[in-house]
């Protein structure tokens, strides 16, 4: 391409599209969307999205940075892969949705009360502390995610299931007691690995100005 073409191309690739290409997992695919709408029509959660994937791609290209990153939409993705399977351009839509969500989280723009986000943070916290997932603690925390009263109600509702799990040795009540539950050996090593990964990710992140700019 000659210089004029390159210059025109850069004008069309606005800041936010470039930011997505640089910082979001599989983000370089965003410009490949041809707006056919098959992803949106194939999504089982489609009716609940503020902006279906097809619209998210268009919003990225229209430089709508705040609207995209603060949207709850991509947090609804359940990784069913219907969209990827059907996309005529083989765009890895599922991965991009997760990439956008996690990028929004890193920037602190993700919607605070979104339940998937809250659960994700809990899961991460759990794994970081123990070096492995303690499902008992994670489960109890999930019950109490929306306050104490809700938690007691849920726990009461789930008691028969818990009892059956206890009987069939699928649930160990001692795992709920701090210092008794199993953690992985040398979890400080795992924490070091995670810190290093974070460092690498931070170093790779390209800084962009805020919206419009």
């Amino acid at each position: 391409m000659d210089d004029l073409n390159l210059a025109m191309r850069d004008r069309y690739r606005n800041n936010f599209l470039q930011e997505v290409e640089a910082n979001v997992e599989e983000g370089e695919w965003a410009k490949m969307c041809m707006q056919c709408g098959v992803c949106s029509g194939s999504c089982p959660f489609g009716p609940h999205w503020d902006h279906p994937p097809q619209e998210i791609f268009m919003m990225i290209r229209a430089n709508k940075r705040e609207e995209v990153l603060s949207s709850t939409s991509m947090w609804l993705c359940t990784s069913c892969y219907n969209c990827i399977v059907r996309c005529p351009r083989e765009i890895p839509i599922t991965h991009i949705m997760h990439g956008l969500a996690s990028y929004a989280q890193r920037l602190g723009l993700a919607p605070k009360e979104q339940p998937t986000r809250k659960f994700g943070l809990m899961f991460w916290d759990n794994i970081e502390k123990n070096g492995r997932v303690n499902e008992s603690i994670l489960g109890i925390k999930l019950y109490f995610m929306n306050g104490f009263k809700e938690g007691v109600k849920t726990a009461y509702k789930m008691a028969p299931v818990g009892w059956n799990m206890l009987r069939t040795k699928r649930f160990n009540p001692f795992a709920l007691i701090p210092f008794l539950h199993k953690r992985c050996k040398k979890r400080s090593d795992i924490q070091a690995i995670l810190r290093k990964a974070q460092q690498i990710e931070n170093a790779r992140t390209v800084r962009f100005g805020t919206a419009g700019g």
Binding site: C36, V38, S40, G41, G46, H51, E55, P88
Partner: protein, 443 residues
Amino acid sequence: MTDVVATNQTILVVGGGISGMTAALEAAECGKDVVLVEKNAALGGRVSQLYRYFPKLCHPTCGLEINLRRLKAQRRVHLLTSAEVIGVTGTSGDYTATVRIRPRYVNDKCTACGECAKVVQAQFPDEFNYGLSQRKGAYLPFNMAYPQRYVLDPAIIGTEDAERAKAACRYDAIDLDMQEETMAVKAGAIVWATGWSPYDAAKIQPYGYDRYPNVITSVEFERMMDPFGPTGGKLLRPSDGKEAKDVAFIQCAGSRDRNHLAHCSRICCMASLKQSTYVGEQFADQGRATIYYIDIRAIDRFEDFYTKVKESSTVDFVKSKVASITEDKATGDPILHGVDTEGYHRYSNRHDLVVLAIGMEPSVPKDVLPVDVLVNRNGFIEMDETNGGIFAAGCASDALDVNRSVQNATASALRAIQIINRTAAAVPDSAGVEAKHALAAEG
């Protein structure tokens, strides 16, 4: 049948559809000897299965008639039907093709009286109607078939049906002892015009072509309009025979899709615009056509046609690739699900019938192609020097409409003629000397 005299001055044309017929006739009318090989029992190919052409909406039977007249008047074209090229050896200017000829079991005494078909009982899905109707075990491929001779289905040979057919024939035209033949055909140049096939719609899983009777392809819809076709020229739903007054067309069914055909099949936009007028032709204001599309690809005079269709009050356009189709069990109505691109509205639209504007793929897949030529990633034959004296014509070279296929075939005939002339100039036999003189005279 084996009395074909072919030399390195002969042009071999493979495929007797509109492209192959055009290439053969153009070359023959330039004074070249041509052997035209057609896989089916009659000439005409996919064009003979069309009801109307776009954008003029005239009937292809008319153009076919003109070409058949040219062919009947042309002594330089030697036609082989029910014949396939199974191998090619040699180089530009000196090819030898192996041609396998299937037995037709009917010789040239046949007058197409049809007495044999009356007595034969076995029935088979009619290929000409894409299996939408049945034909007898003794049949004329279609009304305009050339040669105008009946064929016996190989499945009835050795049965009582075959004997009945033989007994019914008053012209001694049925020869049940006919055997498959293989012959070698020499040629200086080859025009490869093997055409296209509709993409297998069942592979587009979310559209349910294999599950829902009221989801059909554009080529099947085309057959419905033929007055001699499977529905007698009426647009009827396969499930219950109800008139299909509300028809949905889904564009890019298999095309522009990396899961299916990566290329744009080029004809489908215009085909659906054309077919939307069939709904109007049949039901006037009562008919309704809805075209679901990614973008409409219609340029120049095609765009005028698009503009005209868009103005019609009975044709709607929805900018959306349909995500999936479900069926209402009670009525058999297909329901189309998706999200449109102009406003991101979610829809679930019920129609009487869905027509998939099915994509075009080369009819001879790359791995079974009996010639050594350069094939692109979509399976079409590239124009390339390494192909020597082999030239693709029509849909063997790309997804083309009839108009562009004919232009393309004429160009390929010209390239083949150049090879023949060069060969003639290089070899000083009588034909060569003649050609040399001709060239000299032209300066």
